[in-house]
Amino acid sequence: MSAGGLRLRGLRKSYGGMPVLRGVDLDVAPGEVVCVIGPSGSGKSTLLRCVNHLEVLDGGFVQVDDVLVGYEPREGKLHESTEREVARARLRMGMVFQQFNLFSHLTALRNVTLGPVKVLRRDPAEVEREARALLDRVGLAAHADKLPAQLSGGQQQRVAIARAMAMRPSVMLFDEPTSALDPELVGEVLAVMRGLAAQGMTMVVVTHEIGFARDVADTVVFMDDGVVVESGPAERVLTDPSSARTAAFLAHVRRHPEKETDHAQNQQS
């Protein structure tokens, strides 16, 4: 499997006996943009957190590029990875969170440079040049030396994207990146994501932005109740879903676009 691909097989996860993921399979080709949609509580966010092992899986396998995440195959057995090995595998996946999660004591620039300098041990001067270029790409060159608290939500989220990109990941995971934003700030974040997609970044985006999914996604995956109900080309799934549950969800979102987003936000916080 070449660089930038992601494969999930039979992912299972429960919290306190409540199954959240009940066997999720997903293939993402290099350069593909997959949007995951579905009602709140359908397991979309948990899926992303399991993909990069922020949550310990109950079962199933994750493969990024040609690397198995969470296990080291040796001598015909699967050895559970050490924390350090998981951390190294995680480098292949960038993650953008609903709540941005910027390091609030560091400037935008330091948020971006921290990983390359501390984790990859790269030359700080070179990293800083690259970080400034990345911030420029997300339209924040002028805000490099500001603290997160001095930035709007949309600006913070764009810094978060730059921070993830600075690690040169093979895959970018987006967990409802615009759900916590004021409506007028959603566009600027989506524009940055559109740019990444156009440059051939492999992306998995959990989102409620059906319009974005239609425009940018190659594939749309509809999840409900911890399983993938339907997946296929974006246009087909969004206009002519084969599952009644997908159709019902899409009809609901079209009728109450903001409500669905608000609901998701409340669930998170």
């Binding site: 990069n52 924390e83 190294r88 969170f97 910027l102 990983g115 501390k118 984790v119």
Partner: protein, 269 residues
């Protein structure tokens, strides 16, 4: 009722009397305080010359020195041990969590003075420590330091833990997604941000330690209070020497308060 706002600016405005209560309360307080100071000051039983004679006397100054050394070593021991306990309490290792919780439960529950007397009399339990007689190892100063330090660590552990909790969990998640280990995330993300939360409580604790050292006088720990007691044990000027000690404690606490303000300003940069 006014029919119009026209012409109001020609009228004279009579201001409300705002500070009547302040003057009244102030006058009462000044009277009470003045009377207190006066009766003490003119009391024939209080020897002002004694206070003057002992305020800067060598034994008292030595006592101030011991009090300061005890305060800072207690703070040092408490901070190091408290940080370790807080980390244990936070860890995902249930044994470490239980051990830290047990320590905190025990050392917060046993009165400081009981501990100081216990360490001072350790020889009764273990006559020798290794090859040396216990009473040669456990000097009054060391007994005082052990009692104060172990006691303080329990309180500081909870303060430090509170500081850790004040840093949003999402930032640790974000640190993990850029390839950091939990330990690295704690060092680079959690610790620096928790210091700002910890400092105000720490200043308070410093003052409590400073005054708490006076308890070591029960074992003749050589601190300010011990010296005051030794002197009034000989000349019976109890009140005068208590006032000498009081003066010094107030001076030290005042200086500590100024220091705290500087530290907090530094941390808030």
């Amino acid at each position: 009722m006014l029919d119009t706002l026209d012409g109001l600016d020609t009228l004279e405005v009579v201001r409300r009397r705002r500070f009547a209560a302040r003057w009244g309360v102030g006058a009462v307080l000044v009277a009470v305080l003045g009377w207190l100071v006066y009766t003490v000051a003119v009391s024939p039983n209080l020897e002002w010359t004694v206070i003057g004679k002992y305020f800067l006397a060598t034994p008292v100054m030595e006592g101030v020195g011991v009090t300061l050394v005890l305060t800072f070593t207690t703070l040092g021991v408490g901070l190091v041990l408290g940080a370790v306990l807080a980390l244990m309490r936070q860890s995902r290792n249930p044994v470490a969590v239980a051990a830290a919780a047990g320590y905190i439960w025990f050392f917060r529950g046993v009165p400081l003075v009981v501990q100081i007397v216990f360490w001072f009399n350790l020889a009764l339990l273990f006559p020798t420590l290794g090859f040396a007689p216990t009473n040669e190892v456990i000097t009054p100063f060391l007994a005082a330091m052990l009692g104060l330090g172990l006691h303080e660590a329990a309180y500081l552990a909870e303060i430090i833990r509170g500081g850790f909790l004040a840093v949003p969990r999402g930032q640790v998640d974000a640190a993990l997604t850029i390839g950091m280990t939990r330990a690295a995330a704690t060092r680079a993300i959690v610790l620096p941000q928790s210091i700002r939360v910890i400092l105000p409580a720490l200043g308070n604790q410093f003052i409590l330690i400073l005054k708490g050292t006076s308890l070591v006088s029960v074992i003749g720990g050589g601190d300010l209070m011990t010296r005051a007691q030794q002197i009034y044990g000989q000349n019976y000027q109890v009140i005068a020497l208590l006032l000498v000690a009081t003066g010094w404690y107030l001076i030290l606490v005042t200086v500590a308060g100024v220091g705290q303000r500087f530290l907090e300003r530094w941390a808030a940069r």
